[in-house]
């Protein structure tokens, strides 16, 4: 008898728990917008939630609901939401994830929705990262350059010239320095190249390597020219010829290299600017580190980036209000708060002038000095790029960096195999 009562209680509890509650705001004439944020670090989540709270306090008729998303699964989750017509109104993502959604008609073209203030605050080179066809489908607002995080004590002791954004190392100079810093089981650099394609392509812009070339017929083809080969050759030679780059980290993620960096195995690690947050948290007491610009090539310090973006769902019935919220979120002082929370750089020229981003603490000033050199990552709008990257480029670069294939073979694979993949998307 007692077990029956327990069963009834459990079923009742389940039914109560499974019933959706909540009232409807639309009945009260109030608009509710859902803002899906991918902020994940404590400071960043706090900054986002505070801004939503401030908006809600000053806009009683347009309530914004904060929805926590995840970088880990955002593409699949958004795709399903779009297909089912249940997408959030305001979508946080990255520019290299937008192409499918933009071409698929899931995102609103923002050209007529955004105020002139915001349009002029963000430079054209940043807008290009979120431009697909004729439309703009996201507001790029946070970005990060790839920098060299260096063991300052080691570099000082070795007596090498310390590069600055004004006087960076060239790629050959970088190779010489890493050779000089290596020996006795220690390496001048540890390249974390778990994702070798974006790192290589973005850095190759410094040497003028564009890899993807658009012909007169509008079709894009891969050409692995001399300029495209500068960065891959440097990495390959460091790892396989000079032995000045750790061979074991070539398949690692950025975080995986940090224990070796702190333990004195590597003098430098090329990482995204936001990794400073992890370094501040994890570095042993007294560990002296600094941020150096990535090496420069024929095109100076130019680097490709895929900024974080804010978009509006095409299905949203309140696009104007969503655009107003984006404008609020990206006011210069708010953009600075978001940038500090994520340890990244804002795209807005107004925000970039903020003194908080020019301090030498945690080397913010070095990163901020690189902001003008950041441009759209190559190929992010090329159709078929994801397949080219996964099936052709990633294994080819991994094999080349590990010494399994030659530069000629790498070129053959990127061009011959790569172009046959791209051709399928451009018929």
């Amino acid at each position: 008898m007692r077990s029956r009562w327990i069963l009834v209680l459990v079923v009742g509890l389940l039914l109560a728990g499974c019933t959706s509650g909540g009232g409807s705001d639309s009945a009260k004439g109030r608009i509710t917008l859902r803002f899906q944020s991918l902020a994940w670090q404590e400071e960043s989540v706090t900054a986002n939630k505070e801004l939503v709270k401030e908006w809600n306090a000053t806009h009683p008729d347009v309530k914004v609901e904060y929805v926590q998303g995840s970088w880990d699964s955002v593409h699949d989750q958004l795709l399903t939401s779009f297909e089912g017509g249940e997408a959030p109104d305001i979508i946080h993502d990255a520019s290299d994830d937008l192409a499918d959604f933009a071409y698929g008609g899931y995102l609103a073209d923002l050209r007529d929705l955004l105020p002139d203030r915001l349009k002029s605050d963000i430079p054209q080179r940043s807008w290009e990262t979120a431009t697909f066809g004729d439309g703009i489908y996201g507001v790029p607002f946070l970005q990060e350059p790839r920098v060299l995080i260096a063991n300052a004590t080691w570099l000082k002791r070795a007596g090498v010239r310390i590069p600055t954004p004004e006087h960076p190392w060239t790629w050959p100079e970088f190779r010489t320095v890493t050779r000089q810093l290596s020996g006795d089981g220690k390496y001048g650099v540890a390249w974390p190249l778990k994702e070798p394609v974006s790192a290589t392509l973005n850095l190759s812009l410094s040497a003028g390597g564009e890899l993807f070339h658009q012909g007169a017929d509008g079709k894009v083809t891969v050409r692995f020219d001399e300029a495209d080969q500068v960065v891959p050759r440097t990495i390959h030679d460091q790892a396989d010829v000079d032995h000045s780059a750790s061979p074991t980290t070539l398949g690692s993620g950025g975080s995986d290299t940090l224990p070796g960096f702190f333990g004195g195995k590597y003098a430098m690690v090329p990482l995204g600017f936001s990794y400073r947050q992890q370094i501040v948290q994890q570095a042993p007491k007294g560990f002296d580190w600094q941020v150096l610009p990535a090496p420069a090539g024929a095109d100076g310090l130019t680097q490709g980036v895929s900024p974080q973006t804010l978009s509006i769902a095409q299905d949203s019935p309140h696009k104007k209000e969503a655009a107003a919220f984006i404008d609020f979120l990206l006011q210069p002082k708010n953009m600075v708060r978001l940038a500090l929370g994520d340890w990244m750089l804002p795209t807005g020229t107004g925000a970039l002038k903020d003194p908080a981003l020019h301090t030498t603490k945690d080397d913010w000033s070095t990163g901020t000095a690189l902001a003008t050199d950041l441009t759209s990552a190559p190929a992010q709008s090329v159709r078929g790029y994801p397949e080219w990257k996964d099936k052709v480029a990633t294994p080819a670069f991994q094999e080349y960096y590990s010494g399994a294939i030659t530069l000629a073979e790498l070129r053959k694979r990127l061009e011959r195999d790569g172009n046959s993949v791209l051709a399928r998307y451009q018929r």
């Binding site: 389940l14 699949d76 249940e86 950025g254």
Partner: protein, 277 residues
């Protein structure tokens, strides 16, 4: 046939190796959960944290609504397990006892249904649930989990039903019991270990499931624990390792607890001596 000492020793070594293989990730998870960020960045990690800290647990609870998400997971998993077992038990009985075309077709369906990956069904499923107004509803998620775990639950239970001697049911029939009375009063009690094992399987499947929960639940108040755990992971797979390990450790506890509590029921030989052979 006697097993030689060498072979016995080899078996124990293999068993020990298997246990280490199974336990290693979990023990490492526990170790990570109690380490400070500085210790996590150490080049020479240790099994026992040098300076154990609860800071990761504090941070995990501060940053994410873990308790609320755990309650959501518990309700959904319990609901799915309960409903799956209630549906699967009579179905399994029919499939095991009746050699009809329908029973054979159902067995075929059970096997075939295991071949479909999540991604193949998620969009049609989403549209169906949307039509039923069950998107962003824990009830919708329970429905999906029931359907998803039902084939395997059936497959498990059919095996258990076949192990129950049909003579017992025939004896009940001779005493005048109807089909339902026989199932409820004779077969079901003997199936208890199987029902518990099946419920446990359905519970753990639902408790751990991530992708359906991610796609079907929108409102943060409805999100389940696996979805909330991913909030500790950032762009390019960078993770807030300490709090993630702390939260993941807590998330494994209910499954472990349930296993520990009912382990004897699963392995108990309830049928011993039921009939004379």
């Amino acid at each position: 046939m006697r097993t030689s000492t060498g072979a016995r020793a080899g078996q124990y070594v293999a068993l020990l190796a298997y246990l280490v293989f199974l336990a290693f990730p979990f023990l490492w998870l526990i170790s990570t959960a109690f380490k400070s960020p500085r210790e996590l960045g150490s080049l020479h990690p240790t099994w026992i944290p040098r300076h154990p800290t609860l800071a990761n647990f504090r941070q995990a609870f501060d940053e994410q609504p873990l308790l609320h998400a755990a309650l959501n997971s518990l309700l959904v998993a319990l609901g799915a397990a309960l409903i799956a077992v209630v549906i699967a038990t009579p179905m399994a009985w029919v499939m095991a006892r009746r050699r009809t075309l329908l029973a054979r077709a159902a067995t075929g369906w059970v096997v075939v249904s295991q071949a479909f990956p999540f991604v193949l069904v998620i969009i049609p499923l989403f549209l169906v649930l949307k039509h039923l107004r069950l998107i962003d509803s824990p009830a919708g998620l329970v429905l999906v989990y029931v359907v998803w775990s039902l084939p395997f639950a059936l497959w498990m239970l059919v095996g258990y039903v076949r192990a129950v001697p049909a003579e017992l049911e025939e004896a009940a029939a001779v005493d005048g019991a109807g089909k339902l009375r026989t199932l409820v009063s004779v077969t079901a009690p003997l199936l208890a270990p199987g029902i518990v094992a099946t419920a446990l399987f359905a519970f753990v499947t639902a408790w751990n499931e991530f992708f359906f929960a991610l796609v079907l639940l929108k409102t943060p108040q409805h999100q389940t624990l696996p979805v909330v755990l991913t909030h500790f992971i950032g762009a390019e797979g960078v993770a807030d390792l300490g709090p993630l390990a702390a939260a993941a450790f807590l998330a494994t506890l209910p499954s472990l607890l349930v296993f520990a509590l009912i382990q004897r029921r699963i392995t108990g030989g309830m049928l011993t001596g039921a009939v004379k052979s």
